[in-house]
Subunit: 392 residues, 4 copies
């Protein structure tokens, strides 16, 4: 409601910001307790196996500092399970809490932000947060609008992944465009096999090389650039999503559009439908003997009819804008003096969200799917899960 | 939660379908009570002036049968206020209920649908509803997935409009693409002045003529086509929207994606960001002496930073697919026999959503805005409204 | 959220007030459409048989004007189904809408209320609504705070009853105290057999006679009086309710305390626990061979442990205050002049809620139970219901 | 929704259980990170001063091991602020996260619970949790149904207290009955002055002595006992609470009934109304020159009319049952063998909730009040708070 919770029955509540721990430095307290991100996942069925290692594996995918395409920032992003998991690493039905302490809260970062606190960073959220929360709003490192917030989403999404894995549902996200260089289309199989083969997460090795070369050029200029991520959810049963206002497409769009930097979303043919006729858009249904189910000869709809899953692959594309903080002189305004000023902001941001945003896209779609599954099954335990899954 | 309510503090709950009244025909009861659409709007501040005529004006915009571009279907879509409005047509703070009785429930429609109930209409939601609700799901005229459902949204949005009008916020939606023919870009002023000058709701008269001619051709073929609608919200103060998961962009995307037929959404530059650099995307802030506010020299962000309104025009584009039911032979499957079958479905659907979907787009954005305003002000009456508006 | 919806997955949204239709009198429109109460029930599984007659049966239980113990007011309270029910009177999974037009909106009632609108009725909600909504708040007949609002609850509860009936769960409410005259305790069987045998709804004929005689005396004095209603839910499976904040006891208490006039709630031994020891309060569990379940030798807990149902009868008691509007001179204040004034208010209120509040208590408990069942099963249709019920 | 969150706009989400940290013991990780309770408070206005010390002060009130009337259990209940508080200990509008690591997770406790895991503890929630979550439900120390869970509520309530303090609203809870020994009635002033003068938290020193002596006797027997807590909220403005289903009384009842062990709730005269006439129950309104407000000569209603606050003191009483785990032989059932068995359970529970439940009652009422205030004001910062408070 107030913004920090996603989901209805599978509810992920997050909190934390980059630098609040800096105000609680205290040698008598373990540094991991000074401050950081936390996430509480409510609605987790009992009996799931969850370990810090399983969650860490997802988190490491978005970890900064891994490649030459990303910020050299050195957040450890180490996750600790704090509640809800007990004997044999099994969930009990109680909410699962995970902590990700902030480790990179050196005074120089704070000084840097404080020195420039009156200069609006073009493209950043500090101004709107100031308008919302007033003088005490967090002006350090973008606060809740920081990309760092997404680490908590990924931890929450990792719990959703464990549930989906047990049901045979796979969600993958990969790069299909970077700074105008396009790749694809890809079948699920091709994408699955190849998408994590390169730093830019594109299933086409050749395109990946072009994108990488181009991005390095952009980095050299001190600039940043945008791109497009495609997401496929494979194995989703028909019938998920609610009618009218809470269509599966609507709740997924809600989740994806809540990721900082996302400016567009498409399902299936997306904006391509604008130039097409109905006869070119409809997918022909048929009875598939092998699976004993109604299936569709094409998937222009992207796996949904009336916003409810139809059993085909869900296909989504999101556009992410270039990171706003660039290493170039920019004209801006000093909010104290109201004077225009040219400034080059220091930045630990990535020059492109493209290589690092895929685990967050996967996380949001996974959360939305598990939430929809709980809405349709009410399951509370692995036992329920097995029994009710077949009803779908 | 279960899908038929939109909003958190400004809550619009809708119900109704095209044909349920047909099962309650009874000469002893006024026909208006047999069945129809209803909408309950909760969270309406006290003291607003609402009349059936004001609501009807919005409803008439989406009314079928008005032009040669639309279905000849003859739903009257007459609205009755049923609660929440009292002396001098003023709201009391109680929920406002509106009824839109179904008037076109002739037996031949029902027979037509019943005769073909085992044939899946390609592109339609009947299959996914069947998978969700089973044998008793509504197979007549698409049930809750029918475009008719949107009349209730428009009635709810009309209440939101009255609130926004009193605050000087204007939301307009207009056509910028139909079947590949593009128009624009348009300034708010140009769009406002010209967009309702033609049946296809496009502010550019010349483009409108091309679109219309093309659409008539498509209609002649018995086919349908898609397009793009642009939405502008003018006068929105900075600071609306919640952080993280409930960004204003996310809740608007949720609302717009819940409209049947919408397959893509863009804010500001949208998918255009994918080929741009940060230096080409950031909007430069400056102090505007005239308004005494921070403003931005460009509006590539579409009026939001970090998903929270920044005081500039909110700019959104949605892609709508061609209406799935077309007057052409289509290959489909008989779900009873599981055999393939070629069939030409009768249809009262529009050949294009483009001319008629704009009031629904406006309605959803208006609801989302009023909801965000209530989240930031908690206002309960016109008096509060005046007092707290200035705080924003 | 804004107050007019109850439930999470089984959601009952109500609206309407006694007199708003009076402002839309129009000879060209059927009087049933001028105004009244409406209720939208979302989350109703598909395949349930619902008719206006079934709903009317519940509504008639709270209908005024039935006995000498009640107000002579003549609201017809006739219910019309408006959506969500189709072939063979079966639900489709779409929201069920019901309308209860106001029939008793004569000008003299309005004049009576308008003439005295500046005199606060002691014990009534007009003052607090005025503080909340300001000058446009509804001052006629108590608006949303009127007992009339409860007719919509009963209609919503009737839908819940149909679901519970299909599951073998029975909820009954009956009188155990009126103006200090007590009756009981009663077994479920005794209560079920006898509670609707008399106007005051008390299962003990002798006590009922004493209560009735006393209440007639109170009526003669122009006064009113309070009492206690007991509620039993029989056949509830173990495991319903959520942990911590949304215990079944908490959501039921929420629902019952939302009924106008309720001032106290007890589960099981209730306030009796305050003078007891643990050894006198604990219920001894044992294995019951007949049912193959764990059961309890006593039921002091009232069917819940840790706020979650334990499979025993749920036992609740609520205290209802005397109706505030009495036919006696009362000292009050004129809010316009701020002067004290003695006034005898005309009233169409009941002299006691005791004989008429039981269907509302039943309705709220039924809604809370169905909501909890949906939370634990996610069922969408009769087929789901049969399959998942056994999992509980 | 799934039970671990309270509130709509002021949202307190809790998690954690007594023993989950025991499964993550690891010498390489600070023990404070193994496991414990966490609470995320969303909707906290920006600019509030919050320190661990201020929160700790509230937590210490419910801390076990403080007096001879309580369990000798030695949980440190030390609280750490983890997010949402920055410069000068001020909130930023971001969610406030607090951690309370478990410190008392010795292997002997776990062995004790594990050895007896098949024996149902009479009066405890293990059975209902097992029915809900199945074989993986938490059988150690009552899991989420443990009184330990309430430490997180108190931390959340402490944040609410800081908000209410800034508005001049005071909430106090004190003992008015213990094992049948009664005290009071007390004016707010008397209660405020005297209620924390003794271990049993009763404002009447003489009654406190009787209660204490009696409770020590009960403890000597190895038994436990119940009592009644009264709560007063002083300084609440008129107009808080929503109509119909979300009356302030209903949301407070929801919150209080969600506290483990609470079996009854009364507002104002409570069950006393059952023997009264309307003429004895109504509170007479008058114009109070001093405050310039309408006030009431008596407060039988307990500060609410139509469930909305009327500006008078809110008066509530809750009945708490005797702690179920007693140091006496009890007959129960072995769920593995289904045989009856007599067992004396070891316990670290308190012999009476009466001395320790008051901070939890205060916490729940405070949360409900702040939530209602946000619903009526939408405030996001101290600045808003000052501006909008006067509107109420």
């Amino acid at each position: 409601m107030i913004g920090n919770t996603f989901g209805r029955l599978f509810r992920v509540t997050t909190c934390g910001e980059s630098y609040s721990g800096a105000f609680r430095k205290n040698a008598n307290i373990p540094a991991e307790l000074w401050g950081g991100l936390a996430v509480i996942v409510d609605g987790v069925p009992a009996g799931l196996k969850i370990t810090a290692d399983i969650i860490q594996e997802e988190l490491d995918k978005r970890k900064p500092g891994k490649s030459k395409l990303a910020t050299p920032r050195s957040e450890a992003d180490k996750v600790y399970i704090f509640s809800g998991v007990m004997q044999d690493d099994r969930t009990t039905g109680a909410p699962v809490c995970m902590l990700i302490p902030s480790s990179d809260i050196g005074d120089y970062h704070i000084k840097q932000h404080t020195d420039n606190k009156d200069l609006l960073r073009p493209g950043q959220a500090a101004y709107t947060y100031y308008k919302k929360y007033g003088e005490h709003s967090d002006y350090l490192g973008a606060g809740r609008a920081s990309a760092r917030e997404t680490a908590a989403r990924v931890a929450g999404g990792a719990v959703a992944k464990i549930i989906l894995d047990s049901m045979g549902i796979d969600v993958i996200a990969f790069t299909v465009e970077s700074h105008g260089i396009k790749a694809g289309p890809f079948s699920y199989e091709t994408a699955k096999q190849n998408y994590r083969m390169n730093d830019i997460n594109c299933p086409d090795a050749e395109a990946a090389e072009l994108m990488t070369k181009d991005l390095l050029e952009v980095i050299k200029e001190g600039d940043s650039c945008g791109g497009v991520i495609e997401i496929i959810a494979k194995g989703v049963p028909a019938g998920l999503g609610e009618p009218v206002f809470d269509k599966l497409s609507a709740t997924i769009a809600h989740g994806l559009m809540s990721i900082g930097g996302v400016k567009g979303i498409e399902f299936g043919d997306g904006f391509g439908v604008a130039s097409k006729k109905g006869s070119e858009c409809n997918d022909t249904p048929y009875y598939d003997e092998e699976t004993g189910r109604i299936r569709f000869k094409t998937n222009r709809a992207g796996g949904m009819l009336g916003g409810i899953s139809n059993g085909e692959e869900i296909r989504i594309r999101v556009a992410v804008k270039p990171t706003p903080t660039i290493l170039k002189d920019q004209l801006t305004v000093n909010v104290a003096t109201l004077e225009p000023v040219v400034h080059k902001f220091a930045s630990r941001s990535d020059p492109s969200l493209v290589p690092r945003v895929y685990p967050i896209c996967e996380a949001m779609v996974r959360m939305a799917l598990v939430d929809s599954i709980l809405m349709s099954t009410g399951m509370r335990s692995l036992t329920d899960m097995n029994a009710r899954w077949d009803d779908l």
